[in-house]
């Protein structure tokens, strides 16, 4: 008698180093956001290498400008720069946040944002199609290009 029960499945306990890693990452991201807010979206000397070499707009094109617009509270401008990113990335952020919180606690998330095989494929198709369509130079597709 007197033995303590083993930890419940999915309850292993806090992982300090994971917590440190998350804090460092969040601090880096906040530092990056502050830098972006202060110096503007065009402060990067290179910008996007792919765009410079090919002139194409990839699905992520305009996200720096969109993030900067969001930091200044200009939601409509952000949507003009990258509408799909502005919708998708917050969802992705929440979904990954759930995973990271559980990871730090050494457990598995109790609830996730539900997405199955078909949901994942749909997201992929949307992103790839967006990347193709926004390079078409005619209306209405030209609205999808960062402008």
């Amino acid at each position: 008698m007197g033995a303590n029960p083993p930890p419940l499945p999915g309850q292993v306990g806090l992982r300090p180093w994971r917590l440190v890693l998350v804090f460092v990452s969040v601090a880096l991201m906040m530092g990056g956001a502050t830098w972006l807010r202060l110096s503007g979206p065009n402060a990067m000397p290179y910008g996007c290498m792919l765009n410079q070499l090919t002139g194409l707009h990839c699905p992520g094109c305009g996200m720096t400008r969109a993030s900067h617009a969001m930091l200044e509270g200009r939601v409509m401008d952000a949507m003009r720069f990258n509408p799909v990113g502005m919708v998708l990335l917050p969802i992705l952020g929440v979904a990954l946040g759930i995973e990271v919180l559980a990871w730090v606690r050494g457990t598995v998330p109790k609830r996730r944002i539900p997405i199955g095989k078909h949901g994942a494929v749909t997201l992929l198709v949307v992103v790839v199609a967006f990347g193709v369509l926004r390079n078409l130079p005619w209306w209405p597709f030209s609205l999808l290009a960062p402008h």
């Binding site: 992705l92 990954l96 997405i115």
Partner: protein, 181 residues
């Protein structure tokens, strides 16, 4: 014997065997809730513990089905679950805890695909999509294998994205310093 039980993922107890049986009979504990006592290798769903099964509301209805049994028969019928060796319980317990612990890494795979590395990410998504299907079929070994592969490709993507970020920062920083001169 003192019992521990879990309620919504929180450990409760210790309570006496009479107390836990009362809780089971009242419906406060479901058959899927985990229980443990000293000597057991790990937490086990209530439904797989023979000595507590008799207290479950569902099990009560099966008792009147043998009302004509003699006293000797009854004890033998009761004894058989008691005599069940630990071995069948242990794999069942392992299955239970592991099935919940096999992550599909689906959101991580999607993030890898969208944020960085489409080819790697798609491979990760393919494996991630397999995990839940294999779990439902009961192929836990296969699910664990697919989960590992999904994790591998997600980690590979994470490595690539880190390298790209660092390279981009170095390139931009050098350009920034050069233009300052």
């Amino acid at each position: 014997m003192q019992w521990y039980y879990s309620n919504d993922g929180n450990q409760q107890g210790p309570v006496s065997e009479d107390e836990i049986k009362a809780k089971i009979a009242s419906g406060a504990l479901k058959s899927s809730d985990l229980v443990w006592k000293d000597g057991m290798p790990g937490w086990v769903p209530l439904s797989q513990v023979p000595e507590l099964r008799a207290a479950q509301p569902g099990a009560v209805s099966s008792v009147p089905s043998v009302p004509s049994a003699t006293e000797g028969d009854t004890t033998r019928a009761e004894a058989s679950p008691y005599q069940t060796p630990n071995s069948p319980v242990v794999p069942a317990q392992n299955n239970f805890s592991n099935s919940a612990d096999i992550p599909s890494y689906m959101w991580q795979s999607i993030a890898a695909t969208i944020l960085c590395c489409l080819p790697f990410g798609v491979v990760a998504i393919v494996y991630a999509a397999k995990v839940d299907g294999l779990k439902q079929v009961g192929d836990l070994a296969g699910a664990r294998e697919a989960s590992k592969k999904a994790k591998l490709w997600v980690n590979l993507s994470a490595g690539v994205i880190l390298v790209l970020i660092v390279l981009g920062m170095i390139g931009n920083l050098m350009e920034f310093l050069n233009s300052g001169r």
